[in-house]
């Protein structure tokens, strides 16, 4: 893949369509040529012409490698291009689009051949137009079934924007990383700290995953965008069972915008060993109390980020409501505009203009969204009240304009998606003070309380401690939370603070959440009571002698 010359034109163009400056990228030029031809020629006689056309080319480069038990099991690399064409028929008030989004996909030439690229666009455009005609007719008929009109238009206007950013390239020392993975995945038996329980480790793997996407977008508004992003993820996954069959494991890693930004080899090895030791501790830990606990739980920043990502963020991303309803959007906050949804000392902002935080490069940062709308910080929650939803070009009631959050997963339509979500307290406590508050509650209530370090999927605790009033911590296993819901975050958070935790993800769209530690006053902790699996029917092979 050739390097393109750095052409950075952060132009927030107010030019009309015909005067948009030609971009300096041959792929964008080819796309624009075909777009112009289709805009002029595409119509079935007697049927509606499209009122909006958009072409998007995604150049996707991935590299993945996994090692298991100290040997490489898989290494794959792929580089392919896909075009996505979106055609809209009707008008902004009511058009052919569905809530899920509609686009036609085709493979595009990996070698940049302009004739083949245009051919792929032509083929996808033909499909997309025919589908849009059908969809428009069906939708207009469906709308006639309902008494009231939809609560918002289907699409908003946007100014033409030209922004050509440097191309991203996948850069990673593959050999070096393979060696790291091989070594890390084998530590369970080679490390003196873990060898004594190596037989109990049923799986031990380490993996690296690199994704580099360069996106080219042109549309009939006159927008031309070129934007690249990279996400590198590495992680370890170790685990097995306790003596009673309970499946236990630890799996975690690091995410960065460059391979160099991932943790060092030494840090990776330390992580594996720490995880193995933690797994072993979990194996020997007592099961959580059989009777339910309802009371204070201190969530680490890591755990709090997961809570917000699950309970809060998806519900402030505005999506088109179901057809025929008078709702504003989907989700539990659809009718909470300007009402309290968090405690008054918490505010939340989404600021994709923030590119780094405390020295870490943020994946969720961007200048212009995937629909060509520039982004500025959005105050989602101000002193506990919901003041803004995140909106793309699919408007919702009271939010007729995009605020630059129309972001698309690969191959998908753009939807309202967060970028860099920052949860802040107006009265943050230090880490020590948070602990002290927790212990104070324990003393007050005359009982043990809980603190959670990290969660697994479904917001279940993975590393959970019972804490006595004198501060003694006991690791426990086999627990789940209950009543960890929107009510808990609205009226159950007593304090926030500690060191902010940066949670990052690469897919479906690159996104960052920065969250403080949170002290909840009343969360339920109870036994999972899951079916225990059988222990292995026979022991693993004996470890090789040192």
């Amino acid at each position: 893949m050739q390097f393109r010359v750095l052409v950075l034109l952060p132009v927030l163009s107010s030019f009309a369509l015909a005067q948009a400056p030609p971009p300096a990228d041959p792929i964008l030029s080819a796309m624009q040529q075909e777009l112009a031809r289709e805009k002029s020629d595409l119509v079935i006689p007697g049927m509606l012409r499209p009122y909006f056309l958009e072409y998007r080319l995604e150049d996707i480069h991935t590299y993945d490698a996994i090692a298991s038990y100290g040997a490489l099991t898989r290494e794959t690399e792929s580089h392919q291009r896909v075009v996505r064409v979106e055609v809209r028929i009707g008008s902004q008030t009511s058009d052919s689009s569905s809530a899920r989004g509609d686009g036609s996909l085709e493979l595009a030439p990996a070698d940049g051949d302009p004739a083949a690229l245009k051919y792929a666009l032509w083929s996808a455009t033909d499909d997309a137009y025919k589908n849009a005609l059908r969809a428009y007719a069906t939708k207009q008929a469906a709308l006639k079934n309902f008494q009231s009109a939809p609560t918002a238009n289907d699409f908003t206007t946007a100014k033409a924007v030209t922004l050509i950013e440097p191309l991203a390239t996948l850069t990673i020392d593959r050999d070096d990383w393979k060696h790291r993975l091989i070594e890390a995945s084998g530590l369970f038996e080679t490390s003196p700290e873990t060898r004594s329980f190596a037989d109990a480790v049923h799986y031990s793997s380490a993996s690296i995953s690199a994704l580099v996407v360069n996106r080219y977008t042109v549309n009939t508004d006159g927008t031309a965008l070129r934007h690249g992003y990279s996400g590198y993820t590495e992680g370890v996954n170790v685990g097995g069972q306790a003596q009673d069959g309970m499946e236990l494991g630890r799996s975690n890693g690091s995410v960065a915008t460059t391979a160099a930004g991932l943790e060092s080899s030494a840090a990776l090895n330390k992580r594996v060993v720490d995880d193995l030791i933690s797994f072993n501790q979990l194996r020997h830990a007592p099961i959580v109390d059989p009777e339910d606990y309802h009371g204070p739980v201190l969530f680490s920043g890591d755990a709090s980020a997961d809570v917000f990502n699950r309970l809060f963020v998806p519900n402030v991303e505005a999506d088109r409501p179901d057809i025929g309803t008078s709702a504003r959007t989907q989700g539990v906050y659809q009718s909470s505009f300007k009402t309290p949804i968090l405690p008054t000392f918490l505010s939340v902002v989404d600021d994709p203009t923030l590119r780094s935080f405390e020295g870490h490069s943020l994946l969720g940062a961007y200048k212009v969204d995937d629909e060509g709308v520039p982004v500025e910080p959005v105050d989602i929650v101000v002193h506990g009240k919901l003041m803004n939803y995140l909106v793309g070009r699919q408007p919702v009631k009271d939010f007729p304009e995009s605020n630059g959050h129309g972001r698309a997963a690969l191959g998908q339509s753009a939807h309202s998606r967060a970028g860099v979500v920052i949860i802040k307290s107006s009265d943050p406590l230090s880490t020590e003070a948070m602990r002290a508050r927790l212990l104070a509650l324990a003393k007050e209530q005359g009982r043990d309380v809980y603190m959670v370090e990290t969660l697994s999927g479904e917001l279940a605790p993975r590393v959970l401690y019972r804490v006595s009033p004198d501060g003694k911590r006991t690791l426990v296993r086999g627990a789940v939370f209950d009543e960890l819901d929107q009510r808990a975050i609205r009226s159950g958070i007593l304090a926030a603070g500690g060191k902010p935790y940066i949670a990052q993800q690469v897919a479906p769209v690159p996104q960052t959440t920065i969250a403080p530690e949170l002290l909840f006053g009343d969360i339920t902790v109870k036994r999972a009571n899951e079916e225990q699996q059988k222990l292995p029917y026979y022991p693993p092979p004996p470890l090789p002698q040192e």
Partner: protein, 635 residues
């Protein structure tokens, strides 16, 4: 717990988020690191036609396609580390499994521990290269190396085990193995998979026992597993795959670039696939087999649509033992050009009308026909089971074809008349040596394609137990060879067609030059119909008018009637090489047959498509951006 400050962190304590490791957490999927981009997978499946038994043209290879490995004597190569690790771990598993009493999960009583009566490890170590091209450009060019293990666990006894009836899949667990010969890692991975497999087998065995008590007596109460002699044969493994990717990319650009001259063809693809694979098989019966296999395929396909919405497609496959032995560029270009022109002509051909009369199937068409109509129905496992139609089960020893036709299946053949055969193998996927099998002799049904699943009439495998990785083997075809003792020259056969048509009062007979497989419906619940898709059909006029291409033909009928109406054949067998999909997955196959005259074939009009052809013509090729109408390519 304080986090490191080197870099961004995310505590991914979500086992499901580390998608890269699905190989361990869900070993039943043999695709670890499943692509995050499902939509890309779907697009690729459309781009690379995995033809369900599609007929393909046999190339004339430029060099003799010898399989040198087949002539090497057994056990001359030393046992590789991988095989050694497989054998060691397999025997350890046998020794340790079931050596203590354990309660089975469902019941409360302690039952005697179950030792597997059979255990096998089958590993496919495969390197492959795939290059995909469309419209003169390269869409994808990639290489891969995978090692995958299929672990098979059988509990109970050969008379009744955990695979009985609908539980066949319970025996199989599939897992990715280390790519390097790291003994300890290989053994530990095999242990993990075997342990999972043992648990599945225990669970299934209990279900089988309960179901057997409750159900009505089965029609065929044969055992679940045959008794066979162990095989030992260690052949040299495949050398590393080398493909000159940039040379092939040039060639593919030129090949698919031909379609730029045909604006009415709206989809085209040219794909090169080359694979070097070594298969290792070790079983508790003492079988130890290592066998190489290698293949290269060049597939060209295209689609168009008539103005009335009817979709038409054509494809050609060129096959050889290696990429270097595929036909030269001139030959491929000529055939691609012919295909493109033919497809273009088909767009404007008149639509057929329903027809009931005589027809000739070309050799290629007859080969596909026999594969679908006869071959699938002679698979052993289809003669047994509540759901199977069992068309031929009771016809052993009876005439099912005219007496001048015989049918054999011979996977030991590497080529036929100098052309490579796709269905060649040395050992099947159950470690049994490939055998030539005479299915039909002089029209009389003699035997079936047998895996190690016995049936009422046959208690042994005949080396036809095949499967794709991750599936349990069943009886499958290899190289199906149809021979005739009533062979006449092609011109004579044509004359016989006209005579038959005239006699039946028809103005024309039909000539099926090319057909694609539809699907063979062999189950009890559906009517015994079959559908093959005619691609190129001509009317052969009785009065000597030139042959006329028609479109929209679809054959209907029942299998037995179709086979019995064959009247004569020509003397020029043709070959189709393809990929065939069925319950045990997609495997390479071939079929060889002469052209056939059938006295009665019934056709109907194909269902009308409703899509319009593309609305706007394709983008002009020569314009200001300097796009060339002929992409670079060729030698």
């Amino acid at each position: 717990m304080d986090d490191s400050i080197h870099s961004e962190h995310i505590a991914l304590d979500h086992a499901h988020r580390l998608e890269a490791d699905t190989s361990l957490t869900s070993p039943d999927s043999y695709h670890p690191a499943v692509s995050r981009f499902d939509f890309l997978q779907r697009l690729f499946r459309h781009a690379v036609i995995v033809s369900l038994c599609a007929p393909m043209m046999a190339p004339a290879p430029t060099a003799a396609a010898q399989d040198e490995h087949a002539t090497q004597s057994a056990s001359t190569a030393p046992q590789p580390v991988l095989m050694d690790a497989m054998a060691t771990e397999l025997h350890r598993a046998l020794a340790e499994l079931g050596s203590s009493t354990e309660p089975v999960t469902a019941s409360k009583q302690k039952i005697p521990a179950q030792k597997p009566y059979f255990l096998s490890y089958s590993v496919a170590d495969a390197e492959s290269v795939t290059i995909t091209s469309q419209y003169g450009a390269i869409m994808n060019s990639s290489a891969s190396h995978e090692r995958t293990a299929d672990v098979q666990v059988r509990l109970g006894s050969p008379a009744e085990d955990n695979t009985h009836g609908t539980h066949r899949a319970s025996a199989l667990t599939t897992m990715a193995l280390p790519l390097t010969d790291d003994r300890a890692a290989i053994e530990r991975t095999l242990w993990y998979a075997t342990n999972r497999g043992y648990g599945k087998a225990l669970d299934a065995l209990e279900k089988v026992k309960t179901e057997q008590q409750v159900r009505a007596r089965e029609e065929d109460s044969s055992p679940d597993f045959t008794a066979e002699r162990p095989q030992v044969d260690i052949l040299a493994k495949e050398p590393a795959l080398t493909v000159d990717r940039s040379a092939w990319e040039s060639r593919l650009r030129e090949i698919s670039g031909i379609f730029r001259q045909y604006p009415n063809i709206f989809y085209d693809t040219a794909v090169l696939q080359a694979t070097h694979e070594t298969d290792y098989f070790v079983s508790s019966e003492g079988t130890k087999v290592e066998a190489p296999n290698h293949v290269a395929r060049l597939i060209v396909a295209a689609r168009t649509r008539a103005s009335d919405g009817m979709d038409m497609f054509r494809d050609e496959t060129f096959e050889a033992d290696s990429a270097g032995h595929l036909p030269d560029q001139a030959e491929v270009l000529a055939k691609t050009e012919a295909m493109a022109k033919g497809l273009n002509d088909l767009r404007t051909a008149p639509i057929t009308e329903p027809y009931n009369g005589p027809a000739i199937l070309s050799g290629r068409a007859a080969a596909v026909f026999f594969h679908e109509v006869l071959g699938h129905r002679l698979e052993g496992q289809r003669q047994r089971g509540d759901e199977e139609g069992e068309t031929f089960t009771k016809l052993l020893g009876k005439a099912i074809l005219p007496e001048f036709l015989s049918v054999a299946d011979d996977p030991t053949l590497t080529q036929y008349d100098g052309h490579p055969l796709s269905g060649h193998y040395l050992f099947d996927d159950e470690g049994q040596p490939a055998q030539r099998v005479q299915l039909v002799q002089d029209g009389v049904l003699d035997t079936f394609l047998m895996s190690r699943l016995p049936i009422a009439s046959f208690a042994n495998s005949n080396g036809h137990g095949s499967a794709e990785i991750g599936k349990m083997p069943t009886g499958r075809q290899g190289n199906l060879i149809v021979t005739s003792t009533k062979a006449v020259p092609e011109a004579k056969l044509r004359q016989m067609l006209k005579d038959a048509a005239r006699k039946q009062g028809k103005t024309y007979g039909l000539y099926f030059e090319d057909i694609s497989s539809g699907f063979a419906v062999t189950t009890r619940r559906s009517p015994q119909a079959f559908q093959v898709i005619p691609l190129v059909v001509y009317r052969v006029y009785v009065d000597g008018r030139p042959d006329e291409l028609v479109r929209g033909v679809s054959i209907v009928g029942t299998p037995q009637a179709a086979l019995r109406s064959i009247v004569a054949t020509d003397d020029q067998p043709e070959i189709f090489n393809g990929l065939c999909g069925a319950e045990s997955g997609t495997i390479p196959v071939s079929a060889v047959a002469p052209a056939m005259l059938v006295s009665q074939i019934e056709t109907q009009r194909q269902a009308q498509g409703t899509a319009r052809p593309p609305i706007v013509p394709p983008p002009p090729l020569d314009d200001a951006a300097g796009t060339s109408s002929s992409p670079k390519g060729g030698r």
